[in-house]
């Protein structure tokens, strides 16, 4: 099943079927039929749009293609087919312009381990026309990082904090964050999300955040892109997605009464059965069933089960 989202300026329209996607007027990121082969792995026909002022969560099991997708977004990989636009610019024509507007947090060791944080900031800040060292130092202090410390002496979480500080210090319009939250302590995670909320508050900036921690995305993300085996399982407004599915819990024979076309996956337990179903507005479920809105984790779980079946 392919679902795509199209949203007009300042107005969420929701989840669309493939082929119905219209071009957005104020989009931060547009992927249009993007395909990329990387060895034995292929990202197939990726299409989604992220409007300005929103946070998109990229989720999926290990090896689904999340990092490859982010690499495409960052211009590290060139698509074999399709087009990628960031803030109405294309990589082929305005790569430097695009990259000057992107702040990055990746799991890789991006910076020079033998240099201090300040030196690293200066080193790479010189490429950004809007790099603000004062702001960078402020963020370092706020995140509890000593600017004279060597990069290699930082822990994994601190390295990500450093990258985050740098990403925020050159007036980026788009933040691309690859699974940063897993390495943050709970205290900083809260601050991290506050900063992200503030970052997008003026409606002109966006965030693409890949994470395994779906709880965080449940709270934070406005849009969800769910990848599996290099394909988009769904892409859309998180609320619309939640509206589209229901989790049923109850006796097996009651669940079997649900229309077959609705059922995505059924998991039979010893005492009760759970099923993820497509929610048809107005459809009345058996009163003996417990009907809940699925969390992202539950959605991911059932979708993965269905596909592996």
């Amino acid at each position: 099943m392919y679902i795509y989202t199209c949203t007009e300026k300042k107005k969420r329209v929701g989840v669309f079927e493939k082929g119905e996607c219209e071009k957005m007027e104020h989009a931060m990121v547009i992927f249009e039929n993007v395909s990329k082969k990387l060895g034995n792995f292929t990202l197939k026909d990726i299409t989604f749009t992220l409007p300005k002022g929103y946070i998109m969560g990229v989720i999926g099991p290990n090896g689904a293609g999340k990092t490859s997708l982010l690499h495409l977004l960052l211009g590290l990989y060139k698509p074999m087919e399709g087009t990628i636009q960031v803030d109405d610019k294309e990589y082929a024509l305005e790569e430097a312009e695009i990259l000057s507007e992107i702040g990055v947090v990746l799991l890789d060791e991006l910076y020079d381990g033998s240099r201090t944080l300040l030196q690293n900031g200066r080193e790479y800040g010189r490429f950004y026309r809007n790099y603000n060292e004062v702001l960078f130092r402020e963020y370092l202090a706020r995140f509890g990082l000593e600017e004279q410390r060597k990069y290699k002496k930082l822990s994994a979480g601190e390295k990500l904090k450093f990258q985050f500080a740098f990403a925020l210090s050159h007036n980026a319009k788009l933040l691309v964050l690859d699974e940063p939250t897993g390495n943050f302590d709970p205290g900083f995670r809260k601050e991290f999300f506050q900063i992200l909320r503030k970052f997008i508050a003026d409606g002109s900036r966006s965030v693409v955040l890949s994470s395994h921690l779906t709880e965080d995305l449940d709270r934070m993300a406005d849009y969800i892109l769910y990848l599996e085996k290099g394909e988009v399982v769904f892409a859309g407004d998180i609320e619309k997605l939640r509206e589209k599915y229901r989790l049923l819990t109850g006796e097996n024979y009651k669940i079997k009464l649900v229309h077959k076309e609705q059922v995505i996956h059924v998991e039979e337990g010893t005492y009760s059965t759970r099923a993820l179903v497509k929610h048809w507005p107005g459809y009345e479920y058996d009163s003996a069933l417990t009907v809940t809105v699925p969390t992202l984790e539950e959605l991911m779980y059932f979708m993965t089960k269905r596909r592996s079946k």
Partner: protein, 233 residues
């Protein structure tokens, strides 16, 4: 960009980076600095030892430079706001600077040897050619760090085919020539006058064409270096 290239070049000469090279190449340094001079009899006179080291040091510097300055861009630089053209310019110019700088170290040492009367002009020209070929061969194509020998060979075969064989022959010629000239200059026995002409002929007729052939793949190497996919996938 020139200032940036020069700064980046010298920035790489740090103990943290150098010690890796030192431990990897430590045996080579001991071999050329102690074992070869003693076994080769280059220690009989102080000036012979100095001459031998003046031949070896630029070669050693070339190897060190090759390890310290691989022809690659760090991942962070692919994420910095630069166009492909700017990245290409950076890679090409830094590569040219590296070749010129390491080559010029060889030139300075060789001219110094001629000036000090440690070396005649014919041997000096042969040494110069040797150093320049080595600088082009090593600094022009230094592969990215961390690659295993197997990966490097596979990459060379995939991208270069015949060039990998040419590289080996060329490198052998350079090493044999350097050593041969060192023997001519550092032994008491004066060889026949044609011997040094043979070395010069090898440099001009074998090394230079092989290096030129190898350099034909330079453009492709630059393209690989500026493409994240080509250099990392």
């Amino acid at each position: 960009m020139g200032e940036m290239i020069i700064r980046d070049y010298f920035k790489a000469f740090r103990w943290s980076k150098f010690k890796d090279v030192f431990w990897k190449g430590g045996f080579g340094i001991i071999y050329m600095g102690v074992i070869v001079p003693f076994c080769g009899g280059f220690t009989e006179k102080g000036e012979y030892y100095v001459t031998f080291q003046m031949i070896c040091l630029p070669v050693l510097f070339c190897f060190i430079s090759c390890f310290l300055h691989p022809m690659e861009l760090p991942k962070a630089m692919f994420l910095c706001p630069m166009s492909d053209r700017q990245r290409r310019d950076y890679v090409v110019q830094s590569c040219v600077f590296r070749i010129c700088f390491t080559g010029s170290v060889g030139v300075v040492f060789t001219i110094g040897m001629i000036g000090l009367g440690l070396c005649d002009v014919v041997s000096g020209v042969a040494l110069l050619g040797n150093h320049i070929c080595l600088a082009l061969l090593l600094c022009g194509f230094s592969e990215r760090k961390g690659r295993t020998e197997e990966e490097r060979n596979r990459s060379l075969l995939e991208h270069a085919g015949l060039r990998s064989g040419v590289e080996i022959v060329d490198a052998l010629c350079i090493i044999l020539c350097s050593f041969g000239i060192a023997c001519v200059l550092c032994w008491d026995t004066t060889p026949a006058p044609w011997v040094k002409w043979v070395f010069l002929a090898v440099v001009l007729l074998v090394e230079c064409p092989l290096t030129a052939y190898f350099m034909m793949g330079w453009k492709a190497a630059v393209e690989r270096a500026i493409s994240y996919e080509a250099s990392n996938c």
